[in-house]
Each structure stands twice: as C-alpha cells, then as structure tokens.
Subunit: 335 residues, 2 copies
C-alpha cells in the first residue's frame, strides 16, 4: 500500500469509527467514491490499525481460545480479557469468575469433582452461585489441611463448592508433604486416607490450579517447605507445583524424593482424565502454565490473556509503556 493511501485510510477510519459517518458521507468529505472508502477501511483493518476491545470484566478472547485449542491441543480453553484491568488481583478475580462460569455450564455435569486448594480455587468457590449444579460430590485430591495458616481455606473451598452445588465434600485428612517417607506411606495406607484417595482417583472431572516456584509459594506459607527448599527446587529446574507436586518445564517431577513424600493424586491421573481443568492466571505463573499445558496435565485451561499469549509466544498488547512517565528528554541535535 502506498503511503498516501495509508494516511487516507486513517482519515476514513476516524470519520467512520469516531464520527459515525457512512462510507458514502466519508466519500463526499474526502472526495472519493464510496467503494474506495470501503476498501480503505478494509485495508486499515487488515493492517491492524483498527483495534476493537471489549472492555468488561466478563469479556473473553475467543480468537485466542481457538488458537490455544488448535495449536496446543487443548480440549477447551477459556481466556479472559485483560483490557482495562486494574492490577493482577482483578485479573485473578476475572479468571476465577470464568472458571466458575465454566464449571456451571460444564456438560455432562460431573458426578464427582476432584479439586486442589489454594487462593485461586478459593476464589473460584466464592464466585460460584448457589445451585450451580444439582448434587456434585467434591473430593480433595491433595493434602494440606492442618498446617495451613489461614486454617480451613482448603476445607472451606471444597465445602463451599459442594454446598453450592447441592452435594457434599470429602476432605483429604492429611498433610501435603511428610518429613519421612515411612510416615507418608503409613498415612497413605490408613483407611481414612486411602479411601479418599481412591474416591479422588475415580472422579469424573478435576479442577486445580498451579503455583509458581517462588517466595510466594503456599507451601512456604504453610510451613511444608522453606524458601531455601524452593530455591533448591528451582535450581533443579522447577517452574512451579501442581496439586503439591513440583514439576519442571517439561512437566516432569523435579525431585522424586520429595514427591514420594507428597500425599495426593498422581499427576498421571490428571493426564488420563478427559476433563481436567487448570485455572492459572498471573504473570508469575506463565512458566508453570506452559509446563502444565505442554505436558498435557490439563485438557481444559482457564487463564488470562497475557498468560495465554505467553503460551503462544505472542507479545501482549497491554504491555505498552506508560506515556505519562516518560523516558528522559533525549535532545537530538541538529545534523
């Protein structure tokens, strides 16, 4: 396209989109036929000069969802828009809302739903509406009841999801990680625990999130691991954890010793399920999200726009520099 046409197409776009003029009227103003105007507008669109955003907390990005499905082999994908977002908290909240919506509309309605716990899942439970299902049984798929500081968050999450869905919750009465392998095996063999694990393994759908391998890890908060432990895991290649198990970028267990002391459903069970839903949002979790998706830990991904684009190796349009806090006056001198 010639430069003069490019400029014309911008003028036409201004009149069309900002002034609500018809192509015919624009033609009169710019002294063009209305067909030429139509073509200029088409060019402006094709060149990406026209950006249309849906600014709403519930807005999704369907084209990105399609690409996630097609290019990454996901069964389904939900991507919430980041347009007009006011901070990572809101992004998280939008994603949780979308997860709640997805659960609600999930067909067939799962008889038994296995869930992990954490801030994200808790938020999902909050966003669910009463009566979102008629009788779902919710099973925890990984341990972690007692040591958690905000005691009961894990239990509350499961109970709340079950209650609102007209069913009951089955909690996994065990810590997330044991110090000694023997203890872990002993607990695992206890009927109270093994029964829950069996139930978890038979769930028809799973809903879980993932944690980044950094200082904010809920495992550090809960006292199961120290910051140094996590650092060491990172050194070994960990990008984050899924249902308590630390994985590297390829989705492999990073530290088999640690993993053997971790109570909960094995990752392969998630991989085998036709409906394993991962809810992951936030810039800190791009790496885990990639690992989860590439190693097929989830068949359905619910995430935010930036995370989705990072999975597709695309730069985010919302990362533009802030024009009001400028770089320094660089005075170019006369040639």
């Amino acid at each position: 396209m010639v430069a003069s046409d490019e400029l014309l197409s911008i003028r036409a776009a201004e009149l069309y989109y900002e002034e609500d003029k018809t192509q015919d009227e624009i033609g009169q103003v710019l002294r063009l036929t209305r067909w030429k105007v139509g073509r200029l507008l088409a060019q402006a669109k094709a060149n990406g000069f026209i950006r249309i955003e849906i600014v709403h907390p519930r807005a999704r990005r369907l084209p990105i969802e399609r690409r996630l499905r097609d290019e990454l082999g996901l069964r389904d994908a939900i991507v919430v828009s980041s347009a007009g977002v006011h901070g990572e908290d809101e992004l998280q909240s939008r994603t949780a809302q979308a997860a709640a919506d997805y659960l609600t509309s999930l067909r067939p309605v799962p008889r038994a739903l296995g869930i992990s716990w954490g801030r994200t899942l808790f938020e999902v439970s909050q966003h669910l509406r009463d009566g979102w299902a008629a009788g779902v049984n919710v099973v925890q798929i990984n341990g972690g009841v007692s040591l958690n500081k905000r005691a009961g968050t894990a239990a509350t999450t499961a109970v709340s999801i079950a209650h609102k869905g007209g069913g009951s919750a089955t909690l996994l009465p065990s810590p997330a990680i044991l110090e000694r392998l023997e203890t872990k095996e002993a607990i695992e063999n206890d009927r109270a625990v093994s029964a829950v694990l069996e139930l978890a393994a038979s769930a028809s759908a799973y809903l879980f999130s993932a944690g980044a391998a950094d200082d904010n890890s809920v495992h550090i908060d809960s006292g199961y691991l120290t910051a140094d432990d996590v650092q060491e895991l990172v050194r070994k290649g960990a990008v984050g954890d899924v249902v308590g198990r630390y994985i590297d970028a390829d989705g492999n267990i990073v530290d088999p010793g640690l993993d053997a002391r971790t109570i909960g459903l094995g990752l392969d069970r998630l991989r085998a399920s036709p409906t394993s839903i991962a809810v992951i949002s936030g810039s800190a979790k791009h790496a885990v999200a990639a690992a989860v998706v590439r190693s097929h830990l989830c068949s359905v991904l619910i995430t935010d726009e930036e995370t989705a684009l990072s999975l597709l190796d695309e730069p985010s349009p919302h990362r533009t520099a802030d024009p009001l806090h400028p770089a320094q006056h660089s005075l170019k001198d006369t040639p």
Copy 2:
C-alpha cells in the same frame, strides 16, 4: 439493563467483533432473534463496553477536537491519538507531525508567519515537507539567538520552515532576556531589532509552543534564568512560558519586571491574531496548555490526547496502570 442482558451483550459482542459472525448467526448460537442481538450490541456500545481505537502515528481524535472547539471556544483544534504510543518522545513527534500537516493545509496560506523557537517548533520544522507552501516569509517573534547552547536551533527552525515553504526567514537578532531594562530598551530601539518586531507584529499567522515552568526549561539550558529563578517564578504562580514570557494559570504575566526585560512580541498581539497556533504536548505541559487556552492566547491548538483530555477535565483511558509493571514512581531528574 438487567445483569443477564449485560452478560449476553458481552457474549454477543465477542462473537460479532472478534469472530466476525453476523447478527443472525449470533442469534442462532445464543438462541435469540437477530433483532435482539442487534439491540444487545447497541447496548454494549452505549454502555462503553466496546472500545474502538485507531492505532496509528497519524491518527487523530475528532470527537475530542470537536469538544475542544465547542467547549473551550477554540477556532480549531487538532488532537493526535495516544493509542499505542511508546513514550513521551513519540507523543511529541506525533504532535509535531500534526502541526506540520496543519500548516501545510492552512488556508489562506499565510503571507507572513511569526514563529517562536524551541524543541517542539524545531521538530515541526523537521516534519514539514519541501514545498509545503509557495513563498512564506517566516519571522521570529522572540529573541534568543546567541546564548542558546545548541546554537542555531532557533535560527535553523525558522530558516528550515521558510526554505521548505519557498520563502525566506527573518531572524530576531537579540537575546531572549536582558539583565538590565535599559539594555533591553536600547536593543529594542535599534533599527535592526525594531524592524523585525514590526514585521512580527504584522504577521498574518503565528505558530508557537509553550514551555513548562520546571527544571527542563529551555531558559535554564540557555542560561537566561537559573533553576532558582524559575522556582521563584513558580512560587509567584507561574505555570510556564509562552514566547519567552512567564504566565500564571489565568494567562497573566507573572513577573512584570522580568517581562519588561524580555524581548519579543507581546502576548496581546497573539490574542488579537485570528490565526495563532499553539503546539503543546506532553504531561509536563498540561498546566501551561490550560493557561494558554483559557486566556485565549491561541485560536488553534494542536496537542496530544492526554493534554486535550486534561483541558476537558476527563481522565485519560491510556492512564491505566500496567498490571505487569506495577506502580513505578516517576524519578524527577535534574540537569
């Protein structure tokens, strides 16, 4: 509007704007008549959920231009879009380009054009194309030749605008501010200077910028004022300078003593001209811009979107916090 309809309108908008479906197709997907879909889309637009931006360096914001004309009594206004801008430098460059475009299309073509000087005007001169006019005479309207560090910028600006317009430039051979009133009056009475000032007063159009009253002032760079002088002016109410004269928020001269020692066209001459074009951009200049416009120093304003919105007391849509690079505070710099 009911909440359920709001959500529906978002779903419809996604299908319409992102998936390019027709309203009829959307109706089939959402089980609505195509008229309902049309109304939902209209609602989404009316509620401001649909944001359409023209992302291009030459894009303008016509609705804002109209509001500037109507609400602030400007004869004309040009507002360049800030969409997708990469820093204040680019904003400045876009504005300068728009000023060059405006000059080029200005009718009647000015016989004599009075101009100030500075970074902005220099950039305007760079953006002008050869042959933008057929014989304009350019007159400097304020002094400042000798002391300027980047010697010749002022002269280069005038000469370049004149040359590209097929005419010649008349420079004002004097400093901007004199230390003693007597010296100023003596210079002013010198034929070489007074002749230029008369010519300047008779120009048919003016083009000027404005400086913020801060450490980046070109007067400090040039050595006419110290940083302390400027600070003192600010204490007295100065918001910036126009053609070398410091004004307060109401457009009044802040320091008559200083003003009397300043050489150049009086501000009332600008106010009296039917074509006095101010080119002002950048967040630092919001206050001066407001003073210039409110005191009718210009009949035409060329500026950026943020500045224009600040004049209209509107928050800028581009000021949203970047969720990925949170709250980085502006570091004030000193030369």
